[in-house]
Amino acid sequence: MTEQSAAGGLSRTDRWLFAIETAFNLIAAFSIFGLMLLGVVQVFSRILLWLDQSMTAAWGFELGLGFSIVGYIDVVEQAIALFAFLGIAYCQKMGGHVRMDLALRGLSRRALWISEATAILLSLFVVAVLVYYGIEHFLRAVESEDSTIDIRLPVWPSKLLVPVAFSLLWLRLLVQFVAFLRLVASPEKEPVAVPTIQTIEEIARHEIDESDESRYRQGG
């Protein structure tokens, strides 16, 4: 296999994976939006309920306004798994997970890639363990018919999200590991499919872009 096609294969895999990661992250994003709407409904229905009861107290008749979403807390709790986990591979791809890279800044290119590859290899190990035992945790919930407190939603679907999301993360880490190995072998190559270290200035720049009102007003 030529170096050209290796890099090509790597970036193709990278793009495929990124499409799935984006889809997962979109689900997470819309669950957040849904959580917002649900909260609004919850507050307004509580206000209606209060109005209705005040009216009942004052005039003695009931309009039947408002309701309390029974099990709201149960639903929200289970939905947390959607935005707590599904975006995790997307975040890794974008270099979004917190780390300290002060010490890395001074390294030579090869030392840098070796250090990155080591870190990813260890991450691969721990994520694999978490996938395996995440599945066990999920299976325990299935077998024991574990459910939530108020409305007895089954808890296994949210527990299943953990190994699913972490498996995707594992694949992302694997791609990054291969990509770093390639760079360790030939440090002068153009990096493919790996996040690069940002300087503090770049991090600041990112924050600035995020908060650039004019960018948003033009619609993206």
């Binding site: 099990g71 807390i73 149960d74 325990r140 024991s144 459910s147």
Partner: protein, 329 residues
Amino acid sequence: GAAWSADDMVDGPAVTWNHSLWGKPRAFTMGLEHLSDELARRTGGKFEYNLNYGGLSKPKENLDGIEIGAFEAANFCNFYSPDRTPSAMIFSLPFLPIGDWEVRIKASDAYYQHPAVKKEMAGMNAMIYMAGVLPQYEFLGRGEPPRKLEDWNGKKVRAGGGVADAMSKLGATLMTVPATEVYTLLERGTVDAVSFPYSYAHAAYKVHEVADWFTGNFQPGTADCPTVFNIDAWNALPKQYQDLLMELKWEVYEKQKAAYLAADDVNIPMFQKELTEVRFTEDELAEFRKQIGMPIWQESFVDRYADRLPTQELLDFLLAEAEKARGGS
């Protein structure tokens, strides 16, 4: 106050057990504190029984921890995951005749030794050591007190488990409120009444500061948070330590009961001084038991878990044990 002789000492190898709890030391844990102290004292420090308040697991996952063997002992509450421990859900039924402390302790302890219950727990690699004997629930509320059972109609109440089933049959609106927010939501009228184990939990969340009235003898139901051991850990324990644990169990019950009663001695006079006490007549309660209680026993326990447990047999067993305890005391 008894003077212990050297005969009380139990000899054996060094063993360390971890017990996973949550929250802060309180009436509920006083018995276990006693257990930990006594085990250390009577084995000359050989059997170290550590109570961990929250460091080992989240309360809802204590059964998982027992199953995987992360710790040797733990408490779990039946309402944490109802469908996981259906046998323990019996204690959440409203108006069970187990309000008296002695009856409660004896009947629950016997109940957990029933083969069907043991089998269910063994499926999670767990065995129940002793009942948690939470006190009966009562309501504290704001606004117009519910003098008659009809007055509950339309009230917004915080309740769970069997208490919730009973209250919704009375026409109350159920609200889901985290315990930490109860104080504020009651004060602002978002909820009208809240149920908690009586009296210490009401006092712990300072509910009495914002309430106008309390029910003194409603006893709409309770819950249970038994102590469980990991079966492997139990089997690996030397015989003399097993015997010691079983011997100490009754002291633990006594200590716990004393802690609850001590809390009542402080709290109830305070409630009575500051709030209006609502008491129902025996006839009303008997009526309530028949009209509301028994149908829920059938619906929420006997029918609901019939495919997993001999539920009718278990209910009859508990009631018989309660009767026996009442006769014996």
